[in-house]
Amino acid sequence: MTNIDVLEDKKDKLIAKRYSKEKRFILFGRLAISLTIIFLTILLGSIVLRGISGFTTTTITFDVNLDKKLIDPESTNDKKIISSARWRKITRDSIYNVLNEINLVMNGEVLSKAEQKSLVRLFSRSSEYQIKDIVMDDLSLIGKTINVTLPAASEVDQFLKGRIDQSLPEDDRPLNNIQISWIKHMVDNDMINRTFNSNLFTKGDSRNAEEAGILGALMGSFFALLICLLISFPLGVMASVYLEEFAPKNRLTDVIEVNINNLAAVPSIVFGLLGLAIFLNVFNLPRSSPLAGGLVLALMTLPTIIISSRAAIKAVPPSIREAAMGLGASKMQSVTHHVLPLAMPGMLTGTIIGLAQALGETAPLLMMGMVAFIVDVPQSITDPATVLPAQIFLWSDQPERGFEEKTAAAIMVLLGFLLTMNALAVFLRNKFERKW
């Protein structure tokens, strides 16, 4: 046994120890990753399970008798007169007609008044407006009988999706026994069908779950983000380029730097208050408008963009600047020709992440009046609008059953957008990343 052998022995032991340390570290790392994946799966899974059915809806197909006597007895073809016709009665009469015909075949008698009253609830309350819209679009239909497919009441939809417990006592159920037996009957007769819920993507908000859609909120979010991007990106890039490349390094720039970092951590509601005080009260921008909302979001994303842009600029090796300046490029040229193109992917990534944050923001918009029940889809940046997360918040507050799956479906759409934006950020980073 020599000295060298002892030393070798010691070394071997140390190496074994180092390996086991590494193994343990990797194990913990994997454990952490698995836990995260499990939590995420549970979260996403529960949202998808609840929301997926929101993308389909139930429709009822039936004949409507567009009685000329009730709509336009004097053949004026005047839209004003037609629009103020008794659409509710026209709709109800047609519905009663259809139901009585079926009942006559089945039971050989007409429905009682009470039965009629409860069965008309299976149809959407908006049916009369939709029928009116169909006629207003094509006045030649007056006097004819047309076959329409309209959304069923939200309760029918929920029942068919298995969300209404039939074992409950009749009084505690949103649907009574007659209604349920008629639903089954109408399904057998192909009157009731399950289709893709196009209302969700083509309509604004509504008090009726079967009518409510997210288009209004989507457009609101789109306009607000557009404003946010158009303002915060150029400002953020210019500010960061100036601070990194041109500003002298002194007390003042240090203070500015600290303040920008602080701003990034300020709760978003504070930006909302600021926006309320400045944009609404001083500049008198229209309340609830994506213009005002977008400006607040721009204030909020600005620090994020500045911070990530500065990091991207810092990551450009100084040797590139030296090379450019050494060739006689001016500071400006070295920035625009070399530093900016190299930092751009990082800046874009930061911007997209900032925008994604803004997309999910509700609190500051609350102060700007963008968390509100708005039926009309906004057509411009000054129309009153709400945004996706605000819509989700509003729907989640609705007692009606039908809004529950709507809420989850809207969350899925929002997550889809966030995912797309983040994927875009990754794509940009990989595509434009350069090696040196």
């Binding site: 060739l327 006689g328 001016s330």
Partner: protein, 255 residues
């Protein structure tokens, strides 16, 4: 012997990095159309002094330079001096190759482009080809001028940087260890290039290679710890130095 014209007159130059002094009171005259070699152990301030000649030290916030450096009798340390003009006159090849992450062609064409040296594309093509040929890189890259300049070998990158520096047609070329990443063949080519270039340009080269200094330069300056220890004709420095430190360094006894 032809009369030697002074290109750069360095007088009483001190350089500080913050509180730390890197160059102490250096006086030096660089002659026109000659190669001057800076030698000395690592960290003695060769690069620092070299970077004074095109005011590259301005990019380092903590770096302060004092004294005077006359280029064709204009003080280039003057605060009001136009740096863009200075740097078109004084080109530089950096110690570490730093090509732009752009195509090989664009790397060389960048200088002529921003200074508007070429009238049209064909003229620019010519300049690029001439510069790459002078740097001995043309044959290796002529078929892939559009590939990124960062995608070639380290030695090729170094020669690309040389081509880029001479494309702007400067008066003085500063070379900071231009051959540190090159094989003997490429080194020989760069040395040849220096001999060729000095007919029209003034060259200052930093090198750790004693043979190279002896081969290519007319004058040699030896630095130690920020001080200029000895400056003179290369032949004399290498055969009969006045200072013991110089003697020790060139014979490899320290450094």
């Amino acid at each position: 012997m032809i009369k030697e014209q002074t290109k750069l007159d360095i007088d009483n130059v001190d350089v500080f990095y913050g509180k730390k002094q890197a160059i102490f009171n250096v006086d030096l005259e660089i002659k026109k159309n000659q190669v001057t070699a800076f030698i000395g152990p690592s960290g003695c301030g060769k690069s620092t002094l070299l970077r004074c000649f095109n005011r590259m030290n301005d990019l380092i916030d903590i770096c302060k330079v004092s004294g005077s450096i006359l280029l064709d009798s204009v003080n280039i340390l003057d605060k009001k001096l136009d740096l863009v003009r200075l740097r078109t006159k004084v080109g530089m090849v950096f110690q570490k190759p730093n090509p732009f992450p752009k195509s090989i062609y664009d790397n060389v064409a960048y200088g002529p482009k921003i200074h508007g040296l070429c009238e049209d594309i064909s003229e620019l093509d010519e300049v690029v080809e001439k510069s790459l040929k002078s740097a001995g890189l043309w044959n290796e890259v002529k078929d892939r001028l559009n590939e990124p300049g960062t995608g070639i070998s380290g030695g090729q990158q170094q020669r690309l940087c040389i081509a880029r520096a001479i494309a702007t047609n400067p008066d003085v070329i500063l070379m900071d260890e231009p051959c540190s990443a090159l094989d003997p063949i490429a080194t020989a080519r760069v040395e040849e290039l220096m001999q060729e270039l000095k007919k029209n340009y003034t060259i200052i080269v930093v090198t750790h290679n004693m043979q190279q200094a002896a081969r290519v330069s007319e004058k040699t300056a030896f630095f130690h710890l920020g001080h200029l220890i000895e400056f003179g004709n290369t032949e004399e420095i290498f055969t009969s130095p006045n200072e013991i430190k110089t003697q020790d360094y060139i014979t490899g006894r320290f450094g």
